[in-house]
């Protein structure tokens, strides 16, 4: 169980950040009809001017340096809003338009009243973007990722003082904002310092790496295990790296795209299988004492993968779902029952994961991660060179990082 939260007064730091009179650039998602339903203009994801925030009590203002684009962002853009609220969220009060960007690093530029003395302007940091209230049952168990009211910087924006305070001018108030902007203000609890030997670009990878790290931690994985990873995209690669850092004896990856297969091998997979050519289930049994793998991780989120993973597990094995699914799948619980298998799910990360990942990058256990950066673009190029590139050229990209003005 992760450490319990002892953050003190969240309600103060969770208040909306006040605004200055100045404006800044940001990339915001406006939702509405899906991309498939209207023409391909930039209407839904706009590079635009919005008010620049300043620090409130217990908050820290950051100039983003590098910000990654994530699968969740793509899903929202293509088929959302789904995570982004379209009517005032009963707790956060937020709704679209929302500034995107939840995997980013930056430099501290302003400190709000009451923040700890350890913070200094100029500190190099990354942001742990989970918004949590600190006092629900889940938070009290340290499970901030399961906070019953949770939100996400860059996907659901700000927390309101109370649900009664409906945000009237959502179009103009930046709230918490997101990493795809010139500035943003977050509560102190979301800021994590990075050591000097980690570049700001690599620091933008901490968030996706933490997803993989947490998945491995939360699972019953042991280093002597044989493990199957479904998917060689950014999250699959994060899982592979976490497994390798933890000494996994045998990492088997299932992936269709050629480029992603190569990435998987490069990042430490012992065996890379192609589900269009190989019998994944038979191979996994063959590679793992004739019994099957001990643990499987789903970073793909497709029916065929789920079916194969469940059968590829040995008796009493565990399947770990990381993927967020676009639609329902078909599931036959008997496939778990007759061999007493478990299907568990993980969500993002908990307290301590960011720090653990930073440590592992710093001491070399996660020495491959910089290779995840396959393209670097400017904030004004996000829609064309970022989102659209990822949609068209998915397989050749792992992480596209957007250069912010805080980049040194």
């Amino acid at each position: 169980m992760p450490a319990t939260t002892q953050d003190g007064d969240h309600s103060v730091a969770n208040k909306p950040a006040p605004t200055t009179d100045g404006t800044m650039k940001a990339v915001r998602f406006h939702g509405g009809k899906t991309l498939r339903e209207v023409d391909q203009s930039q209407r839904h994801l706009r590079y635009e001017d919005i008010p620049e925030p300043k620090c409130g009590q217990g908050q820290i203002k950051i100039k983003p340096a590098w910000c990654g684009i994530c699968g969740s962002d793509l899903h929202e853009y293509l088929g959302g809003p789904s995570i982004c609220p379209t009517s005032p969220h009963p707790i956060t009060g937020e709704q679209v338009p929302v500034t995107f960007g939840h995997e980013f690093s930056g430099v501290i530029e302003e400190l709000g009243k009451g923040v700890a003395e350890k913070w200094k302007v100029g500190d190099r940091v990354c942001v742990q973007p989970i918004i949590y209230d600190g006092d629900c049952g889940a938070c009290q168990d340290g499970l901030i990722n399961c906070c019953y009211k949770n939100g996400f910087v860059g996907l659901s924006g700000r927390i309101c003082r109370s649900a009664m305070l409906r945000i009237i001018n959502t179009d103009t108030s930046p709230g918490w904002g997101g990493g795809l902007s010139d500035h943003l203000v977050v509560p102190e609890y979301a800021v994590v310092k990075i050591p000097d030997n980690i570049g700001l670009d690599v620091a933008a990878l901490v968030e996706p790496l933490a997803v993989g790290w947490h998945a491995v931690n939360a699972s019953p994985f042991k280093p002597s295990d044989s493990v199957l990873v479904l998917g060689g995209g950014p999250i699959g690669l994060a899982v592979i790296q976490a497994l390798r850092a933890r000494g996994c004896k045998q990492i088997i990856v299932s992936e269709v795209s050629q480029m992603r297969k190569e990435f998987a091998k490069e990042f430490g997979a012992h065996h890379v299988l192609d589900p269009t050519k190989d019998d994944i289930v038979a191979k996994c049994r063959e590679l793992a004492d004739g019994q099957g793998v001990n643990v499987s991780f789903d970073a793909a989120g497709v029916q065929a993968g789920l079916d194969q993973a469940i059968l590829a597990l040995r008796a009493r094995g565990t399947h770990v779902n990381i993927a967020i699914w676009e639609k329902r799948c078909n599931f036959f619980p008997n496939d778990l029952v007759f061999r007493e298998k478990t299907y568990m799910a993980v969500a993002t990360y908990v307290k301590g994961d960011f720090e653990d990942v930073i440590s592992a990058i710093s001491d070399g256990r996660l020495d491959m991660c910089k290779k995840m950066i396959t393209k670097r673009i400017g904030l004004d190029e996000v829609v064309e060179e970022g989102f659209k590139a990822l949609i068209k050229d998915k397989d050749n990209q792992v992480k596209i990082l957007v250069r912010g003005s805080g980049q040194i």
Binding site: D141, R316, A345, A347
Partner: protein
């Protein structure tokens, strides 16, 4: 000897010409006493062989027709060679653990013989069955009953062990004041309810649509019963837990699309859903039901020796009092009409129908074998 045999869909016959089994080394000849009919038996009867082998079973080498009955009690009639130091004695009352396993697959080698790749059950996979005069089983399948536990109760040990195993597989041991939701008030749901109470659960909520089964759940000690057609299960369960933290564990003993979805949604963060039900077909499922609270969903099957031992100990100590589960006692010749069809047509009226294997025997035989009237 006389036995009930399964031939296929809606085809169970009482026959008289089944060969008596031989009792070899390490084996025990059991004279059967009471046999329960189970949901699985009904599924095989109504739907045709699904579990029962239609080609030779890897361990028993049998295929249908097979002798049926896998929830049964009996007394020891004969001990095979090599059991002098086993502690077993002729005349001893027993519950039988009907697990069949191969002892050489990965599951067996790792202590999960109930998940054996070649596994099965006496009374479902060949190897004899409780609905016959005698069965020969390995000594390890014989679980002696304490003096204060009668043979009819002995036939309930198997379904109670299903509940015990499911509860054991849950994280209940790590939770201070466990709050649990049991979906389904049929025999297995009721078994889970009883085991949870015996194991000190603070709150047991049963979710059930049928009125009679709701009453049974209450009778067996469920603190609350929720009718999902009338109340919001998730909201009501949270309220019953005090409003701050949802229930810790959910047991799906119903096995329908609504029960799995609600079970996943009712538990707290990092909550556990234990699936006991055996399903008829695959269902639409949304992994996100587990994702947002990092819940887990675990399948469990059957039981192991420790579960039989746990149940028997609890029965001996009076921690489980399952007698009201027996809603009817019949004789073997009425098996199909008053057993199978009664359960199929009046499902909610019954919990367990037991076949009294010694009813109608001569008085001498009765004195030697049965205990309770």
């Amino acid at each position: 000897m006389r036995a009930a045999r399964y031939y296929g869909k809606e085809d169970v016959r009482i026959v008289d010409d089944v060969e008596r089994p031989t009792c070899g080394e390490g084996q025990v000849r059991v004279e059967t006493a009471f046999v329960g009919i189970c949901g699985t038996d009904l599924h095989e009867f109504m739907g045709g062989p699904n579990f029962s082998p239609t080609s030779p079973h890897p361990v028993t080498k049998e295929s249908i027709p097979i002798t049926i009955g896998h929830e049964f009690s009996g007394t020891i009639k004969e001990l095979g060679k090599g059991l002098e130091k086993s502690g077993l004695k002729v005349g001893q009352k027993l519950a039988i653990q009907p697990t069949i396993y191969c002892a050489r697959c990965g599951a067996c080698e790792n202590g999960a013989e109930n998940a054996c790749l070649n596994g099965g059950f006496v009374g479902l996979s060949g190897g004899g069955g409780g609905l016959s005069e005698e069965v020969v089983v390995p000594a390890e399948a014989c679980l002696p009953l304490p003096d204060n536990v009668d043979l009819d109760i002995g036939a309930l040990v198997e379904p109670l062990a299903v509940g015990w195993h499911a509860v054991d597989a849950s994280p209940i041991a790590d939770i201070k004041e466990p709050k649990c939701v049991v979906f389904g008030g049929g025999p297995i749901g009721l078994a889970v309810v009883q085991v949870l109470l015996a194991r000190g659960a603070k709150l047991v909520i049963c979710v059930e649509v049928a009125k009679k089964r709701q009453e049974f759940a209450k009778e067996f000690g469920a603190h609350h019963v929720i009718d999902p057609t009338k109340q919001d299960v998730v909201a009501t369960a949270l309220e019953l837990c005090g409003g701050q933290q949802p229930p810790d564990i959910a047991f799906d003993c119903a096995g329908v699309p609504q029960s799995i979805e609600t079970a996943c949604k009712v538990v707290k963060s990092r909550g556990a859903v234990v699936n006991v039900a055996i399903w008829e077909k695959s269902i639409p499922f949304n992994p996100n039901w587990l994702v947002f609270r990092e819940a887990s969903y675990k399948g469990v099957l059957g039981y192991q020796k420790k579960d039989f031992e746990g149940v028997i100990k609890a029965l001996g100590e009076g921690k489980i009092k399952p007698a009201p589960m027996i809603t009817s006692r019949i004789q073997m010749d009425r098996l199909v009409d008053d057993g199978y069809w009664a359960l199929i047509k009046e499902k909610d009226k019954h919990v367990k129908i037991l076949v009294d294997m010694r009813a109608g025997l001569s008085d001498t035989a009765k004195v030697v074998s049965s205990s309770a009237p």
